[in-house]
Amino acid sequence: MKRGKKKNRRIRGKNRSLILLSMPSLIWYILFCYLPVVGIILAFKRYRLIPGKGFFYSLINGSEWVGFENFRFLFLNPEIGKVIRNTLLYNMAFLILGTVIPVMLAVGISYIHSGRIRRFVQISLLLPYFLSWIIVSYSVYAFLSYDRGVVNSVLGSMGIQGFRFYQSPSLWPFILCAVNVWKSSGYMMMLYYARLMAIDTELFDAAAVDGASNFKVIRYIILPELKNVILVMTLLNLGNILSTDFGLFYQVTRNSGSLLSTTETIDVFIYKALMEKSNYGFSAAASLIQNGIGCIILVTANRLLKKNGGGGAAL
């Protein structure tokens, strides 16, 4: 009995120091992740800040319940259909391009003999990943500006009339896809490449003994090895199917009003509702829908994958 108690205390003592060690991190999670989750009841309120009182006091005591009023306004908004369509189409395109291109690049570099070339390719393709959207927006502008841009002067020298890019919404789906591929492919390529390099060399030896062609090696060894990583990435992307990178859609388009019909996504919409119209409830309602649907998709897809014995176990 006494010994058991002693052991118990020892375990608790040990855990106490682990709890202490991870306390700052836990506090960060509570303040910056979980308080906002509680605050999402904003979506069901007409928020009014009581001067001198904090957010939660105002939220609970000062703001009246409005039920699904905010959601009603959200769906009555004339823009919302377009915004959801843009978000879904961009994410679908990014999902496909963001898988196929990096996988091809990863397989490509893994076949290059020269270590120096391999390193050069990796470093240059990964570089855009480390540039901020502001910088990206500047260099995109250097290409696409109507009177100064490189693209228009090249077109001009061939006798072709230049484009007013920042006023032509129909061109932007292509531009944004290209920019996104340029910025994120390197990182994804490195992930897939790392996975490729972890393949057991014996598999390749066995393939060489069997006299398998490179095509067969890719088809039967490399792609199956990458399958799990691809699945996990796809799953995460599906969970974020209604979320987009705010910087890409807000900065790279220079928030140009005439492009909104093809470039405004849910995140930009939510941002504007909050910062330009100070409409907390409306913005929170849109966030709640965005997060809720993403969550449902993620959980469902994960369950389906698990059922089929896929790599969904990662979550």
């Binding site: 120091s17 992930l191 030896d205 849109a286």
Partner: protein, 316 residues
């Protein structure tokens, strides 16, 4: 057939360090050259936007006004940099802010990430399951920016505070998971056990043994965090009013100059330069170059660490 067998022999010879060398030997010489050329071309294409910005910053203003941005400007000039060095006041201020945020932020986020990752990696930690759930949920569910904004400004009082720039992006579930995986697979449990038998506390074990043993992952995560702090602008956009421009990071200064070039120079009419003589176009790009220079310089040096870190992440 002959070639293949040779390939096989090569592989036998290389066996063991083939992975380290990082390639799959299967291509003939010609195919290797073609593939290399194609990939080098793609890489150069990826570098073009950065190269263009650098060239514009060295172009003369007349050349830009005359014939637009160009990879081959008619006239080179250092005017933009000269102008930049003459107007360092606000730039140094925001460089200071950016450096402060980057240094404090990186240290803080390494601390938050590694301590939580360590707790999650300890199989005898009673709250492990609960803490794992706490860390994983925010990956796919959050309060949205309206709620976060209200909490951060009206509850935590972070509006127009430098702490908004440091604290809000400080922790990341993704890096916690990566680091936990690293701890689990790279720190021999025997060492921890031995230290524990010597009576060392968990905190002591963590700082004395775990951190030194996980230098590679610390460097990788630190590097990614440092870059992301250096690149930060979003927190400024949300949490800093325009009458607190002393808190602007370099990126956010650049963002403001997109609309208003005079942002940096407003108020110094003494400089005597007429508006026409300000090298507006090249000046912006010069600032871009100044901001990406630290990234361009440090990043290739840490290439190996970045790769190792990604390896650890992919091994998940």
């Amino acid at each position: 057939m002959n070639i293949k067998r040779q390939g096989k022999r090569n592989k036998k010879k290389n066996n063991g360090f083939q992975r380290e060398q990082g390639y799959i030997s299967g291509l003939g010489r010609t195919a290797d050259i073609i593939l290399s050329v194609v990939l080098i071309l793609i890489s150069l294409l990826a570098l073009l936007p950065v190269i263009l910005v650098i060239i514009i910053s060295f172009s003369s203003e007349e050349a830009i006004i005359e014939s637009g941005y160009s990879f081959f400007p008619e006239e080179l000039s250092l005017d933009a940099y000269r102008y930049l060095s003459g107007h360092l006041g606000k730039i140094l201020q925001s460089l200071g802010v950016t450096l402060l945020v980057t240094v404090i932020g990186t240290v803080l986020s390494l601390f938050l990430i590694s301590t939580m990752a360590y707790a999650l990696s300890r199989k005898d930690f009673l709250l492990r399951k609960l803490y794992t759930t706490i860390v994983v949920i925010p990956v796919f569910f959050g309060g949205g920016i309206a709620s976060s904004y209200a909490v951060n400004t009206q509850f935590l009082g972070l509006k127009n505070s430098i702490w908004a720039l440091i604290l809000i992006p400080a922790c990341s579930s993704w890096y916690i998971i990566v680091m936990r995986t690293y701890f689990l697979s790279n720190i021999p449990p025997e060492i921890l056990e031995a230290a524990r038998l010597d009576g060392a506390s968990d905190a002591r074990i963590f700082f004395r043994f775990v951190i030194p043993l996980s230098k590679p992952i610390m460097i990788t995560v630190g590097l990614f965090e440092a870059f992301s702090y250096w690149n930060s602008w979003y927190e400024n956009l949300l949490y800093t009013d325009s009458n607190h421009s002393g808190l602007y990071t370099l990126q956010y200064v650049l963002y403001n100059m997109e609309k208003n070039v005079s942002f940096l120079t407003s108020g110094d009419s003494i400089s005597g330069l007429s508006a026409a003589r300000v090298p507006t176009e090249s000046f912006r790009m010069a600032l871009v170059v100044v901001i990406i220079l630290p990234i361009l310089v440090t990043y290739p040096m840490f290439g190996r660490h970045i790769k190792n870190g990604l390896n650890a992440g992919a091994g998940k």
